[in-house]
């Protein structure tokens, strides 16, 4: 049996900030005055102090018409209707599940917002209420879409589409939500042989590719625990996981292209080596270069 023990010194620590070519935007710190002019609206992350609009969090200023808000560098997930999220069930309550989606408050998944086995138009009776733990229990992972934002900021989710539902075997990676790029689609069947859900909330799900017809049959609640994921799939999943963590470590934006580039650039390393700082940085730098090249074209 092989074994691998690596102990490095702090002096070998490397700087993992990648300097981009784009300009660094102006950052504001809490208490700093953004503008003294009147006529602006107070958005998130700001407050009014004697007619001056002041930042309450550290971050970049965003302006939409008259609305000024400050987006913090590191924040929990701020939900928007239509976002794709990956979440974990934390509690089973009456007619609803509580879901951890990395937002400030736990999100809610109502029993009426899920597809139950046996057709979409089925009525939900008391029987279903008692069976709720059978469908989804504490710890289960789901993919869902944000349907509504309540007054207190908590999210209401729904899974009434065949692409959403309970997640089966795979790996969950957690990154900052601000690193996930908003795209048209967040479900990706990568050519390297794995599927990926880039949740807007910073939860990324990687699993073996499911074929199209199989996917339709899922309906949300089947999970095959007997099936063993083959070694080759496992290697791809582990590599993807380590690449995503490497990119997130260098604070690079995550989308299917950047992840795929990183995956390709990482091929010269063993999956295991991607846990070490140097290969991680190397992969990120190479990915960055390819992204610029693509932009130039």
């Amino acid at each position: 049996m092989t074994q691998n023990v690596h102990i490095r010194l702090a002096s070998q620590r490397i700087d993992n900030t990648i300097v981009g070519t784009s300009e660094v935007p102006r950052l504001y710190t809490p208490g700093e005055i953004i503008t003294c002019r009147s006529g602006f609206m107070r958005g998130h992350g700001t407050y009014m102090e004697e007619d001056a609009l002041t930042a309450s969090v550290a971050g970049v200023v965003e302006q939409v018409n008259k609305l000024i808000s400050v987006r913090p560098i590191k924040n929990r997930y701020n939900g928007e209707i239509g976002d794709v999220v990956v979440g974990r069930i934390t509690e089973v309550q009456q007619k609803r599940w509580k879901v951890d989606t990395n937002s400030r408050l736990d999100s809610v998944l109502l029993l009426s917002s899920v597809n139950l086995p046996g057709g979409e138009l089925r009525r939900r009776g008391t029987e279903d209420e008692q069976m709720m733990r059978k469908y989804l229990q504490e710890g289960d992972l789901i993919s869902a879409e944000v349907q509504k934002i309540y007054d207190d900021g908590s999210l209401s989710l729904y899974t009434r589409s065949l692409k959403y539902g309970k997640l089966c075997q795979g790996v969950l990676v957690k990154v900052f939500p601000s690193l996930v790029k908003r795209r048209k689609t967040h479900f990706h069947n990568l050519p390297c042989g794995a599927s990926m859900i880039l949740g807007n909330n910073g939860f990324i799900w990687i699993c073996p590719t499911v074929s199209e017809d199989e996917e339709n049959g899922l309906g949300g609640f089947t999970e095959n625990l007997l099936e063993v994921v083959p070694r080759t799939d496992r290697e791809v999943i582990a590599r993807l996981r380590n690449c995503i963590l490497a990119l997130a470590n260098c604070k690079m934006m995550l989308c299917d292209t950047s992840i795929l580039y990183a995956f390709e650039e990482s091929q010269k390393y063993e999956v295991l080596e991607l846990l070490r700082p140097e290969p991680m940085l190397d992969v990120c730098v190479l990915t960055q270069q390819r992204l610029y090249m693509q932009e130039d074209e």
């Binding site: 092989t2 702090a10 504490e138 380590n242």
Partner: protein, 291 residues
């Protein structure tokens, strides 16, 4: 430990991965995650070290004080371990939440360092029966990302390696009181011999196999772990079980044998790292928590 929630499917995925010998992050069963060590990070301590293993972050400080030896062991110094599970690590440690885990770790270290073959307490003796050095080893858990026992023991060994005990130039008995003359030069001090200090190796049983250095997710899947303390001379100085679950005697024997070989390579790796750091000399830059 702060348990994390996992779905059955995720557990199955981890379990099958361990069976296959290919874990979720690409490691084999007996691979450690990369670690980072730095000694001499706290200036007011006689010796200190910080060790980071993935998300687990440990800071150890050693303080020396003069004390009277135990009457039954007049020629030996004292050593005391204290583990502080800071609420910085996880809110679950708040108040007395981390106390149980803290006692468990400090007790395990005390047991592992108990034998005179691991750490020579007589080196801490100043005046037999009258005065000795007492080492307060305070362990701070700054971040908790699984595999605490291994990380803590390595950090303790590194901190002890870094510890400098002031040299006593003269000691004389003046009536009932003891007069000690300590050297004025702060660089004039003795090192401690840590070549026989043990490292703890946790072998976490997942399914029918054992893995080392489990992540927090893997710990959740495990039914129990065996922790083995191994010295560089491959002496077993402590064995105990953590978690629920039990082992077949034959499994236990196999685990002990695997643990021994791993313990040796962990000891070797730490020694190499510490030697390398020493060669950088006194002028070495202190990195600490910045950068």
């Amino acid at each position: 430990m702060a348990e994390i929630l996992l779905s059955e499917a995720e557990k199955t995925f981890i379990l099958h991965g361990v069976e296959e010998g290919f874990r979720c992050d690409g490691r084999m069963r007996l691979d450690y995650r990369p670690m980072e060590v730095e000694t001499d990070v706290v200036s007011h301590a006689s010796g200190s070290a910080r060790l980071r293993l993935a998300n687990t972050d440990i800071l150890v400080g050693v303080k020396t004080e003069i004390d009277t030896p135990y009457p039954e062991r007049p020629r030996e110094g004292k050593i005391e371990f204290f583990v502080d599970c800071s609420a910085n690590a996880t809110p679950a440690f708040e108040g007395r939440g981390g106390e149980e885990l803290g006692t468990e770790i400090s007790n395990s270290l005390a047991t592992a360092y108990q034998s005179s073959q691991t750490f020579d307490l007589t080196a801490l003796c100043i005046l037999p029966g009258q005065q000795c050095w007492k080492l307060y080893i305070d362990i701070l858990i700054l971040e908790c990302g699984g595999n605490l026992f291994d990380a803590v023991s390595l950090a303790v060994k590194a901190a002890l390696h870094n510890t400098r005990v002031p040299k006593v130039k003269g000691a004389c008995l003046d009536g009932g009181t003891v007069d000690l003359q300590l050297s004025d030069d702060p660089y004039d001090c003795c090192r401690l011999d840590v070549s026989d200090a043990p490292c703890l190796v946790t072998l976490c049983k997942i399914g029918d196999h054992c893995v080392v250095d489990p992540t927090a997710e893997e710990e959740t899947c495990s039914s129990g772990s065996v922790v083995i303390a191994i010295t560089e001379k491959s002496l077993v100085t402590s064995v105990f079980k953590t978690g629920v679950g039990s082992f077949h005697p034959q499994t236990l024997i196999d685990i002990l044998k695997v643990g021994q070989t791993i313990g040796l390579s962990v000891n070797k790796a730490l020694r190499a790292a510490l030697l390398e750091e020493e060669q950088q000399g006194r002028k070495k830059e202190c990195f600490g928590f910045l950068k």
